[in-house]
Amino acid sequence: MIDILKKIGLFSLVVSGLVLLGNGINAVINWSWLVTICGIFRAVIVPLDFFIDTTELISSIANFLSILIVFWGARGFIIVTNYFKNK
């Protein structure tokens, strides 16, 4: 029982820490440059649209990036849990 509570506490701690970290990053980084980069990408990709379905391309890239982020997140979670397991 105590083990379960410890695990829940650990999980909550990790999630809270990640939320704080994410909010901290969002507060520090000015994302407006990202809008410009996306705008450049849009401008460059439009001329390709007549022979490449750019909507499909963008959604595929976006989906893959999302999966990649989940993969990195899972990998980080494994590292954290291994760290606490070995303690």
């Binding site: 990053i25 410009t36 001329p47 022979f51 963008i58 893959f64 990036l65 494994i78």
Partner: protein
């Protein structure tokens, strides 16, 4: 490997430039949309035979949906044929070769050629109108005196009229506050002694037009081309009333399109109302996407959420439309009527709250008839000797219970949605998912943002991806496409080829995506296995 890639890129670039210059020696790209004028710059024609060439390019079928009209407002003495990309334009009857039209023009580059038989230099002015909206723009009328009332409430329209008469024939149009071309006052067309034929046209932004004809005439052709594209959407709610009265034909088709282009800025409802009580005569035939009894009116984006109440000509038909969609679609009305019927239709669009749980629950629970039954009364009114008061109206009780059930379900749905939104907000800001959220938000914002001044050159392509460079040849100026489908003459086979390439590339992208996901999955599997060991 890199050298091979560079060589291939260079070869592709040179090939495209060669094709571009070979195909489009003199080309001016003109996107046909709504109406516009081309004033041929010092387009002098010397000699007794001349041809004035210029090129226009229709890059989007929707830009010029079904008719292109070419009008020579200043000189109507040209003879011969007018061709539009090899398709001979049909002269507007009685227009003295001043006006021509072509139904269903193809996408592609067009040259407009005509021949001049008189000597001397001339400056030609040509107006090309596009985006007219009647499949058959000719509404023929062969009766005598009639009044036609057209209410357009500020919408742009083009009116062209031809009359051939035997005696005094007069056609008046009143109520036109703003006539931009060709400077005719309120009169549209007039008579001749023997045979009158003359065509004039007007572009008007008007609130209403009443056109009356007096006298005997045996041929009258009406062109009412309503673009339905105001320069700016009027502040809703706004109405567009189209009266189609007194036509002799038993079935009149009126095709309108562009309604959905008004969508946006929060406009989420369109409505069609039958103004005249015509219940004793034939019902209107409203085919897809309009359907009496089918609940569907306008399909702006393939999915729609529509309902209607009422039935027949006097009914009110509402359609809910996606207020984020911006596009073009057709709205077709097919109206059966005879001489005695005067059906009027009114279009409205504007805001309507879609968040009406009480009203929605009431409609879902019971019909209007069921709701109209008396309220349940517990107990008996002993003092009322003459009135029969129902002790329990189970119909109404059932309706109330079902309604409360729906309301509670709506409430639960809203709670779940709210929780989901909160969770998504928290998770979206959690490291490392905040990067994904930031990229998604940036991508959305980039659609409406502008690039910095130094990077504006990247926006060299138009909406269809065509990149053009400006050119000046003699007195003519225009632009030459150097990239995109415009570098080739478009026809059915080239369009099919582009579509095939696009389909293949789409499936290649999907294949690459699934391959990458497979590789990633394999990597995750091995890493988890290693961590277990």
């Amino acid at each position: 490997m890199m050298m091979k890639g560079l060589k291939f890129g260079l070869f592709l670039l040179i090939g495209c430039l060669w094709v571009s210059l070979g195909v489009n020696t003199v080309s001016a790209e003109i996107t046909l949309s709504e109406s516009y004028s081309i004033n041929t710059p010092n387009g002098s024609i010397q000699g007794n035979q001349g041809a004035l060439h210029w090129w226009s390019y229709i890059d989007n079928q929707a830009d010029c949906e079904n008719t292109v009209m070419v009008v020579f407002p200043s000189d109507c003495q040209n003879n011969g044929t007018i061709e539009y990309n090899g398709d001979e334009l049909t002269p507007v009857w009685g227009a003295n070769d001043c006006a021509f039209y072509l139904v269903n023009p193809d996408i592609g580059n067009y040259s407009l050629d005509f021949w001049e038989t008189t000597w001397g230099a001339k400056t030609w002015s040509v107006d090309i109108y596009c985006g007219v909206d009647q499949e058959d723009p000719i509404l023929q009328k062969s009766a005598n005196t009639n009044n036609h009332l057209y209410n357009y409430n500020g919408w742009d329209l083009i009116i062209s009229d031809t009359i051939e008469g035997e005696t005094l024939v007069t056609l008046f149009a009143t109520g036109i506050p703003d006539i931009s071309e060709p400077g005719i006052e309120n009169e549209l067309c007039w008579f001749t002694n023997d045979r009158y034929q003359r065509t004039n046209y007007q572009i008007a932004t008007t609130t209403s037009i009443t056109m009356s004809t007096y006298g005997n005439f045996y041929y009258n052709t009406w062109y009412i081309w309503v673009t339905l594209k105001p320069s700016a959407p009027p502040n809703p709610p706004s109405t567009l009333t189209i009266a189609i009265n007194d036509f002799d034909t038993t079935t009149q088709l009126l095709h309108l399109y562009g309604l959905c282009e008004q969508v946006g800025s929060g406009i989420n409802q369109m409505r069609i109302v039958g103004l005249a009580d015509n219940a004793t005569t034939s019902q209107p035939v409203l085919p897809d996407p309009l359907g009496v009894g089918r609940g569907g009116l306008i399909d702006c984006n393939g999915t729609y959420n529509a309902y209607y109440d009422g039935y027949g000509l006097t009914g009110t038909h509402w359609v809910a439309i996606d207020d984020t969609f911006y596009g073009t679609d057709w709205v077709t009305f097919e109206q059966d009527f005879n001489a005695s019927s005067t059906p009027d239709w009114e279009f409205s669009y504007g805001y309507m709250s879609q968040d009406d749980p009480d009203g929605t629950a009431s409609r879902l629970a019971c019909s209007d008839e069921e709701w109209a039954t008396p309220d349940p009364v517990i107990g008996i009114d002993w003092l009322s000797a003459t009135t029969s008061v129902p002790a329990f109206n189970f119909t109404k009780i059932k309706c109330q219970i079902i309604k409360q059930y729906y309301i509670s379900m709506f409430s639960l749905r809203d709670q779940v949605k709210s929780m989901g939104a909160s969770s998504a907000s928290v998770l979206g800001n959690m490291f490392p998912f905040n990067f994904s959220t930031a990229i998604k938000n940036a991508w959305t914002q980039s659609a409406s943002s502008t690039l910095p001044t130094g990077l504006e050159f990247l926006n060299s392509s138009n909406a269809s991806g065509t990149i053009s460079i400006p050119v000046t040849i003699g007195n003519a100026s225009g632009s030459v496409p150097i990239w995109g489908t415009a570098i080739f003459n478009k026809n059915a086979s080239s369009t099919a080829a582009y579509n095939s390439i696009r389909t293949v590339s789409t499936w290649l992208i999907r294949l690459a995506f699934f391959f990458l996901v497979f590789l990633l999955g394999s990597k995750i599997y091995h890493e988890f296995n290693q961590s277990k060991q």
